[in-house]
C-alpha cells in the first residue's frame, strides 16, 4: 500500500515539473556545475580533508618516536 502511494506521489511530481530536462524533470544543480562553482566546493573539501589527514599523519609519527624511545628505555 505504501509503495503504491509513493509511486503515485512520485508520478505526480513528474507531471508537475514542466521543464523538459533529460533527468526526468527533477531539477538538479546543473547551474552550479555549468558555472564551474562545483569545482571550488570540491577543492575546498579536498584541502580540508588533506589537512586533516596530514594532521593524523604527524600525530602518528610523533607517537612512533615516543614508542621507539620507550622501547629503548625498557
Amino acid at each position: 500500500m505504501k509503495k503504491i502511494f509513493l509511486l503515485i506521489i512520485m508520478s505526480c511530481f513528474n507531471f508537475l515539473v514542466t521543464f523538459a530536462q533529460s533527468n526526468n524533470g527533477v531539477e538538479m544543480a546543473t547551474g552550479l556545475r555549468s558555472s564551474g562553482k562545483i569545482y571550488v566546493v570540491v577543492i575546498v573539501l579536498l584541502i580540508i580533508f588533506l589537512g586533516f589527514i596530514i594532521y593524523l599523519f604527524t600525530i602518528d609519527r610523533r607517537i612512533g618516536k615516543l614508542e621507539k624511545k620507550e622501547k629503548s628505555i625498557r
Partner: protein
C-alpha cells in the same frame, strides 16, 4: 601501527569519494535532488561507528578472558571513536533532514533508536569514569559492553524494519538499490564506507597507542 599502507589507502579512498561524490552522476529523484549525495558521507559515518563498536565488544570479551590492560584500552578507545562517528552521523543526518524533509528530527524510529544507542554508549564512558580500580573498571565496563552491543544492533536494524520509517530498507520502503536504479551510486558509496572505516581504525589505533604509552610511563614512574 607501523604499517601505513592501509591508512593511506583509507585516505585515498575518501579523497576519491569526495571528488566522485560531488562531481559524479546521481539519480535525479524528487524531494532529494542533489542532496542524495549526502549518502556518500552520512551513511559511511554509521558504518565506521558499527565497526568501532564491533571491535570494542570483541576486545571487551577478550579482556574478560585475558585481563590484559591492552585489550581494555582497545575496547575503550574504540567506543570513544565510535561515539565521534555516531555524533557526525547524527549531525549530518539532522542537517540533511532539515533541508530536505523540513524537520531535523522527524521522529523516525531509526533516529530515535540511534539516539538511545548513543546514550547507551555514553553511559559506558560514564560508567568507566565512575570506577577507580583498573581491573574492576575494565571488567564491569566489558560486561556492560557485551550487553550494549546486541541491544544497539536490535535498535538500529531490527526495530526500524518493524514499523513506519523514512529510511530506505526500513518501514516498508525499498532498499537503497531501489532508488539507485542505474547502480551508479554504488561505485562511490561502497568505497566511501570502506575508506571511512579505515580512517576510523586509524584514529582508534592512534588513541590506543597514546593510552598504552601513558600507561607504561605511569608504570615506570611508580
Amino acid at each position: 601501527m607501523k604499517s601505513y599502507w592501509w591508512k593511506f589507502l583509507g585516505a585515498a579512498i575518501v579523497f576519491y569519494t569526495i571528488i566522485a561524490g560531488l562531481l559524479g552522476e546521481v539519480p535525479a529523484l524528487p524531494i532529494l535532488h542533489e542532496s542524495i549525495r549526502n549518502v556518500y558521507f552520512h551513511v559511511p559515518m554509521w558504518f565506521a561507528m558499527l565497526l568501532m563498536y564491533l571491535i570494542s565488544v570483541v576486545y571487551s570479551i577478550k579482556y574478560l578472558g585475558s585481563g590484559k590492560p591492552e585489550d581494555d584500552f582497545i575496547a575503550v578507545e574504540s567506543v570513544n571513536v565510535g561515539l565521534i562517528f555516531c555524533l557526525f552521523g547524527l549531525l549530518s543526518g539532522m542537517l540533511w533532514a532539515n533541508i530536505t524533509w523540513g524537520d531535523p528530527w522527524p521522529n523516525d524510529p531509526k533516529l530515535n533508536s540511534s539516539a538511545i544507542a548513543s546514550l547507551m554508549y555514553l553511559a559506558y564512558v560514564v560508567l568507566r569514569n565512575a570506577l577507580d580500580e583498573e581491573q574492576k573498571r575494565g571488567k564491569i565496563s566489558a560486561i556492560y559492553n557485551v550487553f550494549a552491543f546486541p541491544i544497539m544492533i536490535v535498535l538500529l536494524f531490527v526495530l526500524p524494519r518493524l514499523t513506519d520509517s523514512l529510511h530506505p530498507g526500513n518501514g516498508g520502503n525499498p532498499g537503497f538499490s531501489g532508488y539507485d536504479m542505474t547502480g551508479s551510486m554504488q561505485w562511490v558509496f561502497r568505497p566511501a564506507a570502506l575508506g571511512w572505516m579505515l580512517i576510523g581504525c586509524w584514529i582508534m589505533t592512534l588513541r590506543y597507542r597514546i593510552r598504552k604509552l601513558e600507561y607504561h610511563t605511569d608504570e615506570l614512574g611508580n
